[in-house]
Amino acid sequence: MMTKRENALKAYRHETPDYIPCFLTDFSMIQCCPDLERYTGITRGKDYWGCDWTFEPAPINAPMPTPGVHLFEDISEWRDKLKFPDLEGIDWVKQADIDVHSDFFGLLTGKGITPNEDGSSIYDEDKKDLLRLAMILNGPFERLHACMGFQNALMAIAAEPEECREYFKAMADWKIEYLKKIGKYYDLDVIMFHDDYGTNDRMFMSPDTWRKLIKPELARIVKACHEAGMIYEHHSCGFVEPIIPDLVEIGVDALDPIQACNINAGKLKKKYGNKLTFVGGFNNQDAFERSDSTPEGIKAEYRRAVDLLAQGGSYIAFPMGVAFASFAEPFIEEHFKYGMSFYQNPANK
């Protein structure tokens, strides 16, 4: 019998696994030196870049860029004001040991960096059958608006694209070195690289602007991830349908969370499912995270997304959300009832 890891790897290879892999049951997740990406405390502080963050309690449970506090507001200042963290100054052996023993969900739910209560590591014998994934936050575009504020960043993209292009090149260079460190000092299967490009109904910038400014650099990042021996999964919230062919072209292996605003996800899965693993596809806004959400509604949404996207494999169930605790139980219940036996039906293989 395949391990959970082997089963999930089949989905990442765009094959049909024995059952639908699920982030909540089949994965071990970590962050690699999380302070490189954002503030990890639970009040207010800076990350390694000097960006200022304020922790927002439940239901957000995450640090947000402190409003009005920017490293720079004019893109022409990025070379002077942005100090790229020194990756050589980190004791990666020690750091990796901390990270593999850290409580990942504790960090995501506002506890800061704490070791697993039982002292366990993702490398422990009893976790060896789980797939190992590292989440990397604040990709090049997200870092840009963390540094200079969202509106300033968007205006810079319109007014000074050449300068933004230089920034994106430099940021990609740094991310590539970071990925090399991760490849060398950790034993992981997948990198989940966060860089949000979509709002609820359109992209933050035009697809053509994204292609000119970000796509070439993302292509280099994906290549570096593969060279470091890891699968590249891209995370972008919001509507990203127009660039899915581009993501396939540059070698992205998987895309999450494919929120329901991507209304053509079913058609896109049929077209690109042999090259791109679809991760998620759930309607958090209307089904999972409303105050009047019901267990029955959550279970029905699980089935809708799975029926739409899981046929033929190359699919992973991943319910991204801010009010995760409110829908996890019925979600997992339905996953065991429906997702675990989905591929036993020959029509779904």
Partner: protein
């Protein structure tokens, strides 16, 4: 091309550095302050329409709004009360429990560019704060509530109903944000709903001019 047409073209192209000079040149040519202002408002309306149609994106809309703002700065000393507002005051904020401000800021810019004076209460705004601001400002014709989290949709509904039950009158209430549909908006008791920043300005004008 007349100077006013040049102002309009450069505003739509988001040329914030060029618009003030062109506005000044239009004034020097003897064009009326209100004519120039109305031309700029019309241009922002065109930008909003293009945004709603998916022809331009947020960066281009922000640049156009910035160009409009720079152009209005040139006109302000010449306006009767120093204000470009012709449609009254709009009180705007993101509802209690929600910290998202990008969509709200875009709507504020578009509404201001449509001819409202905007009082932005920021994020995490309680119903009481909305009511306090309505009382504290003259000529409030519009109250706009924004929200992005599904978890704060209830707060939006509560806020609209509290504002409506406050006994204060003379204004319309408009709601919007990623999880808000026209069906949900109707259940809140709001007078209007808009799915994006471009159509928010159109709807705002429609509501107060009705």
């Amino acid at each position: 091309m007349s100077k006013i047409e040049e102002v309009k073209a450069m505003l739509e192209a988001g040329k914030a550095k060029l618009v003030p000079g062109l506005v000044q040149e239009a004034l020097n040519d003897g064009k009326g302050v209100q004519d120039i202002l109305q031309a700029m408002i019309a241009s922002m309306g065109a930008v909003g329409d293009k945004f709603s149609a998916g022809e331009v994106y947020v960066p281009e809309m922000l640049m156009a709004a910035k160009a409009m703002s720079k152009g209005v700065e040139v006109l302000k000393p010449l306006l009767v009360d120093g204000s470009a507002s012709t449609l009254g005051t709009c009180i705007i904020g993101t509802v209690e429990g929600d910290l998202h401000d990008i969509g709200k800021n875009l709507v504020a810019m578009m509404i201001e560019s449509a001819g409202f004076k905007v009082v932005d209460l920021g994020v995490d705004v309680s119903a009481a704060k909305f009511i306090e601001a309505i009382k504290a400002n003259n000529d409030v014709t519009l109250v706009a509530l924004s929200g992005l989290l599904t978890t704060t949709m209830v707060a939006m509904k509560d806020s609209v109903q509290t504002i409506k039950a406050s006994g204060l009158t003379g204004f319309k209430v408009i709601v919007g944000g990623a999880p808000i549909s026209s069906e949900f908006a109707a259940t809140t008791g709001a007078d209007g709903f808009a799915p994006d920043a471009g159509s928010a300005a159109v709807k705002a004008k429609e509501l107060v001019m009705a």
